[in-house]
Symmetry: C2
Subunit: 114 residues, 2 copies
DNA sequence: AGAAAACTGTTCCATAAGGCTAACTATCAC
DNA sequence: GTGATAGTTAGCCTTATGGAACAGTTTTCT
């Protein structure tokens, strides 16, 4: 519950930065090393590593080190959490629309909208 | 393009806070005033107002003042931006999976994965 | 062994986020 | 017109973010 909420915090936070979204998009094409991922960006490696760390902390990517290079891959089921939240959200306001509609089309029905 | 990216920045940023997500969920049931929205939270009004301001800046809600009370309502099509991004994202890695599958099932086919 | 590659750790900096209190403005209800 | 209501402004504090520089450390290559 709070675990869930906390996850969403970190996931949305991670997605709020264009660099990190770009990394995810890149990883959508397949795994890559930190160095490969960092190349397109005009940024010092340590700075870039922070983004990787945040992505991993949010659970959106998984990494493991082989030799001196760290490999990163995407964790798609993590994005499903957002799907879930969006679906809930949509259910709320389409549910409301439905109730409103019932109320309008069946004026006798006691279903307090609001 | 960059406008789009910028929008996502603000939308994800807005969603990264539990208070703001709760406000959105409440607004999913229908419009409400700032006071009504603030009631469940143990927080000073000025602090709460910052959340409202951020939500409005991200475009996720719309507000307008009538008399001395400010009314807030949700802006559902804004969430569709996230849907779009998620869909793109999924297209990437399912596309990859498909290619990988073709590669696996047709070993003779020259389609370098990765 | 020695050098280069690929991170990692540490420290620093500027700005933004999230909270607070106190004082202020603008309605609305008598 | 007084007083309560509903926000708003302004200032302060603390922590987190996104960036940089510079000095390690571990592997790999020759």
């Amino acid at each position: 519950m709070e675990q869930f909420s906390n996850s969403l915090d970190h996931i949305f936070q991670a997605l709020a930065d264009p660099t990190r979204r770009a990394v995810l998009e890149r990883l959508g094409h397949g795994p890559a090393s930190v160095g490969e991922l960092a190349m397109p960006f005009d940024m010092a490696l340590p700075s870039f590593m922070k983004h990787i760390t945040m992505l991993e902390a949010s659970g959106l990517i998984r990494t493991h080190k082989r030799g001196r290079v760290r490999h990163c891959s995407i964790e798609p089921q993590r994005l499903a959490l957002i799907d879930g939240w969006l679906a809930d959200q949509r259910a709320l306001w389409t549910g409301r629309t439905d109730r409103l509609e019932r109320f309008v089309t069946q004026p006798g029905h006691k279903d307090k909208p609001r």
